[in-house]
Amino acid sequence: MATSLRAAALASELTNLLHRHVSSTDETEMNELDARVREVLEAAAASLADLKSANDPSAQAEALRLGAEVRKLKSQVAEIQRLSREKYEFGRRPAGA
């Protein structure tokens, strides 16, 4: 039970990482957060893939649905990371603007 809750913590860890990304102004930190976000998303997808093959029909169906949600989530997360990096500073335009 306690160990399975660790898998549940993936979701809150993802949102925490993204909030930190938006708040951060340090390029190195944002790169580290990008890597962590990627790992968390992969771990979530792996956990769902495990449950899809588990001997639990209701969990299988739900895992299938959430697997699709996680795939969509990846593009939204990428958009957040892109917006977060375009930090608009007073007197300085973001690159490419």
Binding site: M1, T3, L5, L10, L14, V22, E39, D56, E86, K87
Partner: protein, 174 residues
């Protein structure tokens, strides 16, 4: 010259605002109040007595604010330029400088409001990512509880496999 001091304060707060673009929405209303305070103080000092018609359009921030601001600015500039009181000229110059700085800052704030990427990122995170994350979390928790409630003979294998998968997550913990 209370209005000039108030404008200095407004400009300082403008700088704070643009340093953290995510606060733009909250600070916009505070700045409007301070701006009105600055104008009122000048008006009371009989230096910008004809600014009121321009200010009437300010509540429609930020769309009609530009028009209101132009009216207000032209009116005050006329007053400042035509003031015949030589003793107050230094104060008038100070106020005019503060006024110009405020206008520059205001333009920057309007640009920030449009290109406020941090706010847009937070909105996307709140509206699109958070619901799916909550869904995932609830699903993992439900699954854990369901596996724990299964009869020992049937659930032991599943629970053991689940514990094994979750015991050592493949991502580094902070």
């Amino acid at each position: 010259m209370v209005g000039a001091r108030q404008l200095d304060r407004v400009n300082a707060r403008m700088q704070t605002l643009v340093d953290d673009v995510g606060k733009a929405d909250n600070l916009n209303s505070a700045l409007r109040i301070e701006l009105l305070g600055a104008i009122r103080m000048e008006k009371n000092a009989a230096l910008v007595g004809r600014t009121k018609p321009g200010l009437r359009s300010l509540p429609g921030w930020p769309t009609s604010m530009r028009n209101g601001w132009r009216t207000c600015s032209r009116s005050s500039k006329r007053q400042l330029d035509t003031s015949g009181d030589a003793n107050q000229q230094a104060d008038l110059d100070k106020f005019r400088n503060g006024w110009q700085l405020y206008r520059q800052s205001l333009n920057e704030v309007l640009k920030l409001a449009q290109a406020n990427t941090n706010t847009r990122a937070r909105r996307l995170l709140r509206d699109e990512v958070q619901p799916v994350a909550d869904d995932l979390e609830a699903f993992f928790e439900r699954t854990a509880v369901r596996l724990a409630e299964k009869p020992a003979a049937e659930g032991a294998a599943n629970s053991a496999a689940w514990r094994h998968r979750c015991a050592r997550p493949p991502w580094p913990r902070s």
